[in-house]
């Protein structure tokens, strides 16, 4: 290599650096960190659908890393994305909260979006869905359609998010059917198709004629289909697994939020914020009704969803009684977000004791 080529090379590198420099101001890559595999047909799958919407609508590149465990690995993966040129990074599980905050401090020019957490910074936003609004809609359907007056609820872990769902479902159900009750079976796992199915079987054997779930696999729906009872899908439309049994499903829809946030970053209007979006924001969506849902029930469910959207109805508006029958929310009052985020008690109509 002679001097001339060396000079050329140096010039090329200098030009490269010069050209690359302003690239930091714009957004050419969005990074995504997932807790599960994109093939889980639930939580992570829906986040990946959102990522694809960003690619499609904004025409930028995206990078994703799946099945990242919620520990030391997470910080390494997030840092690698930040260092590798992702200008906005979505970390999509509660356990990624502290790693996200730590990496965000080291990369102030990169924007971070953390799902379901509560720690924010100048370059870290948080976002989550008000899935309890969807639970109020399916609770309304269940109240209309149950014959035995008993609903089976396959639940994962006794944390506020899950308890809030059970309560919202029960309150909406008892508004249309004050005698109906909910039985909850905890399986202490987010994901164990065999056990989820067994729990559904136990609930059906015990008299439930509608099954709903806060676990991630479609196994409970399959059991409902086999046993000839009804059920609701979770996180994504699960109609393929239970064409007769699924009445509707609560769908997590991150598409619009992801596109909006990446677009804001591209326009330079991105600001740290806390987003907790429900049906109105499009984050919580209902799947098309199953054939088994009669027209009047569809109308009732649509009415509940519409009332939630325009603010006339809050799923936790009083009067709300706890399990002991004591009034905890007076008529005219509504539980605030803080009470919702820390919910650790059952409303009237839920059977059994909440594990602590």
């Amino acid at each position: 290599m002679n001097r001339k080529t060396l000079n050329k090379l140096a010039a090329a590198i200098a030009a490269g650096v010069f050209l690359a420099a302003p690239a930091h101001a714009q957004v050419d890559n969005a990074g995504f960190v997932y807790v599960g595999p994109i093939g889980d047909h639930g939580w992570t799958y829906r986040h990946d659908v959102g990522r694809l919407a960003v690619e499609r609508e904004l025409g930028i590149d995206t990078t994703f890393v799946e099945s990242v465990s919620e520990g030391a690995d997470a910080e390494r993966v997030i840092r690698k994305l930040a260092a590798g040129g992702s200008d906005i990074i979505f970390t999509t599980s509660f356990g990624f909260m502290n790693p996200t905050i730590r990496v965000a401090k080291q990369f102030p020019q990169v924007k971070f979006e953390h799902a379901t957490g509560y720690k924010r910074a100048a370059n870290v936003s948080t976002y989550s869905g008000r899935f309890y609004e969807g639970r109020a809609v399916i609770g309304t359907i269940a109240g209309h359609m149950t014959r035995t007056g008993q609903i089976g609820y396959v639940a994962s872990h006794p944390i506020p998010e899950v308890v809030r769902g059970i309560n919202a479902f029960t309150l909406a159900m008892r508004k249309v059917n004050p005698e109906a009750t909910v039985k909850v079976v905890w399986i202490n796992s987010w994901y164990d198709p065999g056990k989820e199915g067994d729990a559904a079987k136990a609930l059906i054997d015990d008299g439930a004629d509608i099954i709903t779930q806060h676990t991630d696999s479609p196994a409970p729906l399959q059991v409902a289909q086999q046993r000839g009872v009804h059920a609701f899908g979770q996180a994504s439309d699960m109609i393929a697994f239970a064409p007769k049994a699924q009445l509707t499903a609560i769908i997590d829809n991150w598409d619009r939020y992801y596109v909006e946030r990446v677009k804001a970053a591209m326009d330079g209007t991105w600001k740290s914020a806390d987003m907790w979006g429900g049906i109105r924001s499009g984050m919580v969506e209902m799947a098309p009704y199953g054939d088994a849902v009669p027209a009047d029930v569809r109308a009732a469910a649509d009415a509940v969803a519409a009332a939630i959207v325009d603010g006339r109805l809050h799923p936790f508006a009083g009067p709300v009684n706890n399990q002991a029958g004591e009034q905890v929310v007076a008529p005219g009052e509504t539980l605030n977000d803080k009470a919702l985020l820390g919910m650790d008690w059952y409303v009237e109509g839920v059977q059994g004791r909440l594990p602590k």
Binding site: P37, G39, K183, V185, W186, P193, G194, D198, A202, Q222
Partner: protein
């Protein structure tokens, strides 16, 4: 009464995969092979079985593919741990990790596919008997097979010459070798049998228990099967009892919750494991008793020249 029958039917489905995996591992361990890759082999069996059913629509093809998938993965173990003398424990653990990843890769396009489940075969006349008919004679082929398997394994191990040789290899490979038996080949066959059984357990999961494929759907059942072998002190009939006990505890706790029994569900979820520990403590008190059943050469590598 109906509730009891329903609960018992669920227990049968919960016990069947455990039973297949445990009996396969039992035979492998009796020959002196400790294969910790059961979880990986179950997953590969599950994805192969489900893929075969999706593409051919034939239940028999699905079951066969499940067994072949499990056996194929166990042949990797045989090659590394028996042929090349790698550590059995490390190889087995690697097999579980490899099987989990490989099954996820193979199953990418199967996520979301639906299958109605294995057909139920009612035994003529017997299935008409009230209560017992529904309980015992109205199942799919894999459940009947799982009930026949302990008998076959027990007969093979204790009543046949080949079974005697297999146990001899597991108890003292030097002596078996000196007597002219091909130790490595026998262990390979036992390992393949263990793999095929784990594959059948997987096929039962993805074809009958919850007929679908999703990643990691075995959710730790391979490890329970490994515990079951020790729990059963390497005896096939005890493995049958153990599988039903483990399945029974799991299902009983779900029913107890549905019936509103006020025991914390976390404690009830631990019960199968507590039961294992309790039985381990009990059986290990009588050392000679466990020694008579435990294969003496378990996990030890064999080289003809040593």
């Amino acid at each position: 009464m109906d509730l009891l029958i329903a609960a018992m039917l669920t227990i049968i489905t919960a016990a069947t995969p455990l039973l297949y995996a445990a009996l396969g591992e039992l035979v492998a361990e009796k020959s002196g092979v400790l294969n910790l890759g059961v979880e990986g082999m179950i997953l590969l069996g599950a994805v192969c079985g489900f893929a075969a059913v999706t593409f051919t629509g034939n239940a028999a093809a699905g079951i066969a593919a499940g067994a072949l998938g499990g056996a194929a993965l166990s042949s990797v173990f045989a090659l590394l741990a028996l042929g090349l003398q790698a550590s059995q424990v490390a190889t087995g653990l690697a097999l579980t990790i490899f099987g989990t990843g490989l099954s996820a890769l193979l199953g990418q396009d199967l996520v979301g596919a639906a299958y109605d489940g294995l057909p139920k075969l009612a035994v003529p006349l017997l299935s008409e008997i009230p209560l017992a008919g529904a309980l015992l004679f109205h199942h799919d082929i894999l459940v009947y097979g799982s009930l026949a398997l302990p008998a076959a394994v027990a007969w093979f191990l204790t009543r046949t010459r080949a079974g005697l040789v297999l146990r001899a290899v597991g108890d003292s490979h030097e002596v078996a070798h000196a007597m002219g038996y091909p130790v490595i080949r026998i262990r390979c066959l036992a390992t393949l049998f263990g793999g095929a059984c784990a594959g059948l357990a997987g096929a039962y999961l993805s074809l009958a228990y919850s007929p679908l494929w999703i990643e990691n759907m075995s959710a730790g059942r391979g490890w329970i099967a490994l515990a079951l072998v020790v729990f059963a002190t390497w005896r096939p009939w005890r493995a049958l009892a153990g599988a039903y006990l483990f399945g029974g505890i799991t299902i009983a706790q779900l029913h107890a919750q549905a019936l509103g029994v006020a025991i914390p569900s976390q404690i009830m979820s631990m019960l199968p494991y507590l039961a294992t520990i309790a039985v381990l403590v009990l059986i290990s008190r009588d050392k000679s008793k466990i020694k008579r059943n435990a294969p003496a050469c378990i996990g030890r590598a064999f080289h003809p020249s040593s």
